[in-house]
Amino acid sequence: MTRIFADQIDVELTVNGEPVEARVPVGQHVIDFLRQNLGLTGAHASCEHGVCGACTIRVDGSSVRGCLMLAAQLDGADVWTIEGLSDSDSIRDLQEAFIARNALQCGFCTPGMLVAAEELLAQGGVPERTAIREHLSGNYCRCTGYEAIVDAVETVARQRAGQVQSGKVRA
């Protein structure tokens, strides 16, 4: 058909702070691009229709479903995945709280869960447990039963608000 519409698109973006240039097929979503082209396998592709949250990553400062964005749309974008967030130590406290609280078992949901949780924590303050549950309601976990995840997020919110020193929440 008409050449105005390309089936391969050139994109220039940054991923975890590093510049990336790529030519991507137009049907490819961001998670397949990250995993298959860049070897960043932290974010998972699972349901691929927006329901499970395993693909949640940060694009231009906001959490997004990586399965519901095309790699072709990434030109100029600033993408952060769990690999970059880990290496930059920016969510170290949250990751430690997840370990301390057993907020992960198989770990499949964890990269997406951490990105979603960090978006809430970045709003500041200490959210109610119901607000934490609400914010994470789009991220499925088949292992933990969520309670430990909510504990971990609440712990970090309190730590960051200066209400506790260690990983322990005051009773």
């Binding site: 089936d7 137009v26 095309l70 914010h135």
Partner: protein, 277 residues
């Protein structure tokens, strides 16, 4: 499964988007937030589309105040509508609706224009448009036109948009002093599409009641509206249950939906009167 697209082009401005649509030989498909379209592509419910990516057209984004109305750009994202001070002050129903739509990551990309063009009868914004008596603005190859919300939604996922048209904006009347706008819905889990939802707008000129998830389009409940205008809430509940024809599906039976609709109307009236939060 993996998505199949015929091609992709990113529009630089509205006229470029119109040109792209015109050159796609009828297989053009507008890509806004992608939160319904890319899901459908991944499931191969939509294949071979020539995607016209309008997501960066800043001219179609944002809320502006006009004399008696608010103009909401089609690309204004759900998250922006939820936080916008003009929306909160003059069309609080829309801010309320955002809290019921999907999850944060989806609200960060989904757009109001996309939600209206998609015309899912279970979606909140289409029903809000009916209750607010909104006008939908459309750009076509032959110029602009405007449609009343009630004439815009034609059938399941079908609107009055033609293949070469783009929804550009919505205007909603500003709420009057003392006007109440309420959304009530029942969903099994947070972020799920509602089993039934109901919008109530109580204006000095009368009551507006619209429903979602009770048919192939969002609907206005005209009989219930008339009875509410007469102050007859019990009558309005009976009339509402009689005038809707909800489907039975794996989520809920028609009878259950009809029952819930009446309950939501009572709750909405109580909330509008300030009797419940």
């Amino acid at each position: 499964m993996k998505a199949s697209a015929g091609g992709y082009a990113r529009a630089n401005d509205l006229s470029h988007a119109m040109e792209l649509l015109a050159s796609s030989d009828g297989s053009g498909r507008v890509l806004a937030g992608g939160q319904s379209l890319i899901a459908a592509m991944n499931m191969r419910l939509s294949t071979g589309d020539m995607l016209v990516d309008i997501s960066r057209l800043s001219e179609l984004s944002g809320v502006t105040e006009e004399a008696d109305t608010l103009r909401i750009g089609a690309l204004t994202k759900h998250v922006e509508i939820g936080a916008d001070p003009l929306i909160r002050a003059h069309a609080p129903l829309l801010a309320e609706a955002v809290t019921c739509i999907a999850h944060a990551a989806i609200r960060n990309r989904g757009t109001i224009g996309g939600a209206l063009a998609h015309a899912d009868p279970a979606a909140e914004f289409p029903a809000c448009m009916l209750a607010l008596d909104a006008i939908i603005h459309i750009q076509g190859s032959n110029g602009e036109r405007s449609v009343a919300a009630e004439d815009f939604f034609e059938d399941l996922f079908e609107t009055s948009l033609e293949e070469d048209e783009i929804l550009t904006a919505i205007t909603v009347p500003k709420a009057e002093a003392g006007e109440r706008q309420v959304l009530q819905e029942i969903a099994r889990r947070s972020g799920d599409y509602a089993l039934v939802g109901l919008c109530l707008v109580a204006r000095s000129t009368g009551h507006w009641v619209s429903l979602l998830s009770v048919g192939s389009t969002p609907v206005l409940a005209h009989n219930a509206m008339t009875l509410l205008d007469q102050g007859d809430v019990d009558g309005a509940v009976v009339a509402l249950r009689a005038e809707i024809d909800p489907p039975s599906d794996t989520q809920a039976s028609a009878g259950y939906r009809r029952h819930i609709a009446g309950i939501l109307l009572r709750r909405a009236v109580a909330q509008a009167k300030g009797e419940i939060a």
